[in-house]
């Protein structure tokens, strides 16, 4: 089973380059702990069920949802999406760098990921503040209930993402500790937050 063979602990050094070569030769490996993938798939199912409930409720009061949706700023949604995409790019580069032994590059990319994550957080809080100031709160109407619910649960996942990135940084910083598998695991979690947002963006800001 190739999975078993390639899931050896891959600390920095010659093993890293071997890992990159393995991939070049077409040996398949699970990125990070398979355990994190169990979480990703399960949580993805839960989010799909939340999204489905949202769409169903939306079709039952299309006009209400459309009118309320008009109070959201699509440009902010786009900005949020771009920011998270960049953060995903940064953490993917972090994984690559760590895999090839360039640990200071990996560390920089990890910090960059955190920075972009933080930009998203600030942007989201400002957006909420603006909406509330305009009089659109959690209980204003059903659309806004879903808006705050979906963005808030995503926000919570993002906060956890900072803890996860912290673990990755901690791993990368010490030569004694480095575990490629753990860094990849953390990246997997972060990407998940990104692709959840891609769907939330489409459902809250774009769909009609």
């Amino acid at each position: 089973m190739t999975t078993v063979a390639s899931a050896e602990p891959r600390a920095g050094g010659p093993d890293e380059r071997a890992g990159a070569q393995e991939r070049a030769r077409g040996v398949r490996f699970v990125p990070g702990q398979p355990d994190m993938w169990v979480f990703v798939l399960f949580e993805a199912l839960v989010f799909t069920s939340y999204f489905t409930v949202y769409v169903i409720r939306r079709t039952q009061s299309p006009d209400l949802f459309l009118q309320s949706q008009a109070h959201l700023d699509l440009r902010v949604g786009v900005f949020n999406t771009l920011v998270l995409l960049v953060s995903s790019w940064a953490v993917a580069r972090c994984v690559q760098a760590a895999r090839e032994g360039s640990f200071s590059a990996a560390l920089n990319n990890a910090y960059l990921t955190m920075l972009f994550g933080f930009v998203f957080l600030v942007s989201k809080v400002l957006e909420w503040a603006t909406e509330i100031e305009q009089g659109f709160g959690f209980t204003t109407d059903e659309f806004f209930s879903f808006y705050y619910f979906l963005t808030a649960i995503h926000f919570l996942h993002l906060l956890i993402g900072f803890v996860v990135l912290g673990v990755a940084v901690y791993e990368i910083r010490s030569p004694a500790r480095r575990s490629q598998e753990l860094v990849e695991t953390c990246a997997t979690y972060w990407h998940t937050i990104d692709f959840f947002w891609v769907l939330i963006f489409a459902l809250l800001y774009v769909m009609r």
Partner: protein, 98 residues
């Protein structure tokens, strides 16, 4: 860093960002119809989102290089999500306006 992979990642990121900006441009064009339900806009929004998600999963999350089981499971979830969202939308709209 391995140049090929670095370039691939950058390309993927640019493509995803471009699609996102395109969505903004398209939406700005249809401003006047913002208050009518539009099945075409909705379906394309969901489909485009799923395409972006698939790219993130396969490229950023490296599922391209993962064992076939993981590829299948992630594809299965994406298909399920697509069917669930599009299905709910079309059935729901038909029921509420019919």
């Amino acid at each position: 860093m391995n140049r090929r992979f670095e370039k691939r990642l950058s390309f993927v990121w640019l493509a995803l960002s471009a699609i996102t900006l395109a969505q903004l441009a398209l939406a700005s064009l249809g401003e006047q119809d913002a208050l009518t339900p539009n099945a075409a806009v909705t379906s394309s929004a969901i489909v485009i989102a799923l395409i972006k998600v698939r790219v993130v999963i396969r490229e950023f999350m490296e599922v391209r290089y993962a064992p076939v089981l993981l590829c299948r499971l992630t594809d299965l979830w994406m298909a399920l999500t697509g069917v669930s969202l599009l299905g709910s939308y079309f059935v729901g709209m038909a029921l509420s306006t019919g």
